[in-house]
């Protein structure tokens, strides 16, 4: 079998634009799902009973439904139900965020509840409010403890953006499919894509682990 990598050299800009979109979608999805997941976790732990019932249902649903299905549903069903169409990028960002936020919420909740009660009590004993205890004492420690789990969620989120290809977001995977179709060189192109994902994600997860090793003692009460 002869391999021909020339389509990659000829069309690298085409793939690079896809890579740019993959990175943008990943960064936006990580930021949005971390913010949303934090709010969901706080709502579940500190909110009224009815809210936590709703949030638990949401978390359970997202863990039971593939992200692929959520994405397709948002892109194809929501416009029919509401009459508003989503641009593919925003549909992808919304779908991935809704999905990943549920996992983030569970990690945040586990992080917060793993801190022993005495820490919060020490804050209350100084006259702090619940919000101050959370902001000054519990969250900083929880964030440290959650770091390894966050590392996995970041890598899963970046990988999940590849699913956006099915709703025609011109990200890395979509561009690769297009290029493979045009050049009849799927092996070369998909191998390159595989390497690109690996080269991006592997150092990120390693860096997070390394950083966690440095700061782990700050979360140990």
């Amino acid at each position: 079998m002869d391999l021909d990598f020339s389509p990659l050299l000829d069309s690298w800009r085409f793939l690079a634009s896809g890579l740019g979109l993959t990175l943008a979608l990943s960064a936006a999805a990580v930021l949005c799902s971390f913010a949303a997941g934090l709010l969901v976790a706080l709502g579940r732990l500190y909110g009224p009973r009815w809210l936590s019932v709703i949030l638990v249902f949401y978390i359970d649903s997202m863990r039971a439904i593939p992200v692929f299905v959520v994405l397709v549903w948002i892109y194809f069903a929501v416009p029919i139900l509401t009459g508003h169409t989503f641009a593919p990028f925003w549909a992808a960002l919304t779908g991935i965020t809704i999905h990943v936020a549920a996992y983030v919420a569970e990690v945040v909740r586990a992080g917060l509840t793993s801190i022993r009660r005495g820490q919060a009590q020490a804050g209350y004993a100084l006259g702090m409010s619940t919000a101050q205890v959370l902001r000054v004492i519990l969250l900083p420690q929880a964030i440290v403890r959650m770091m390894p789990a966050f590392g996995s969620i970041v890598s899963v989120t970046i990988k999940d953006t590849a699913i956006a290809a099915v709703i025609a977001v011109p990200e890395l995977m979509r561009q690769a499919e297009t290029l493979a179709g045009q050049t009849y060189r799927p092996i070369e192109i998909f191998t390159a894509v595989m390497l690109i994902y690996f080269v991006i994600i592997f150092p990120i997860t390693r860096l997070i682990d390394r950083f966690y090793g440095r700061v782990a003692h700050l979360g140990r009460s």
Binding site: A125, L126, G127, M128, R220
Partner: protein, 256 residues
């Protein structure tokens, strides 16, 4: 029979407990406890584990709610509202058995955090105050250390400084030396003895009988959620009125 007049008995009590009751499920932690603490007194609460001493301390600053009775602090019942309770807690310092220093903050930040977060003091002023308190507990050279780099005794001294930073009217100590290695117990007790000499009102739940004997102005013996006996240390340790006080002390190897 009290051998000597109780300290500051002529002044209004700092804390009054009236028939305080607390249950955890079917377990009765406090079964109608009444006592009072005068300003400037060092009151040691002693008794077997599970006899209610720590629970009483935690009911004092509202970390536990009462099931019956009431606690008066400086003449007023503990407030029901969260906001007012926070105000009361600022005037009560608490020291925990497990120190409960904040692991993500340096020793100095631990001491300054109450001033900055709760009292909204500017950081440089709070740090100056914290520095002075670190000196007071003999840890001027450890201000930049994280709790994980301090010994147990050092951590507990930082915790005392953290509570003192709020300028409390009373200090509550919940078994402050129980989690310490024997060789660091002394440095913590020395800081506490110094505080007592300065006239700080203190309630100390402790198993350190020699500390209670030497430093306490009043000793309260608990048994099964009830007050078994109270009196000056000379009475409790040398001539207890109750046989069961004598039993408890001899169990600890105290021979008077």
């Amino acid at each position: 029979m009290t051998a000597q007049p109780r300290k500051n008995a002529d002044r209004a009590p700092m804390l009054v407990y009236k028939d305080v009751r607390k249950r955890y499920g079917s377990f009765t932690a406090l079964d109608g406890v009444s006592l009072h603490v005068n300003p400037g007194e060092v009151v040691c609460l002693i008794g077997p584990s599970g006899s209610g001493k720590s629970t009483l301390l935690r009911c004092t600053n509202g970390l536990e709610t009462l099931d019956g009775g009431e606690v008066l602090f400086e003449g007023k019942p503990l407030p029901k509202s969260d906001v007012e309770m926070r105000g009361v807690r600022q005037r009560m310092g608490m020291v925990f058995q497990n120190f409960e220093l904040f692991p993500h903050k340096t020793a100095l930040e631990n001491v300054a955090t109450g001033l900055i977060t709760v009292k909204k003091m500017p950081a440089d002023e709070a740090n100056r105050r914290a520095m002075a308190l670190m000196a007071k507990v003999g840890l001027s050279d450890k201000t930049a250390n994280y709790p994980s780099n301090l010994s147990g005794g050092q951590q507990q001294r930082v915790a005392i400084a953290r509570a003192l930073a709020m300028e409390p009217h009373v200090m509550l100590f919940d078994e402050p030396t129980s989690a310490l290695d024997p060789e660091t117990v002394g440095e913590v007790l020395n800081v506490m003895r110094q505080l007592a000499l300065e006239g700080m009102t203190m309630i100390v739940v402790t198993h350190e009988m020699s500390f209670a004997r030497r430093v306490a102005s009043w000793v309260v013996v608990f048994e099964k959620g009830k007050l078994l006996e109270e009196g000056p240390p000379t009475q409790i340790f040398d001539a207890p009125l109750k046989e069961r006080t004598r039993d408890f002390l001899s169990h600890l190897g105290w021979d008077g």
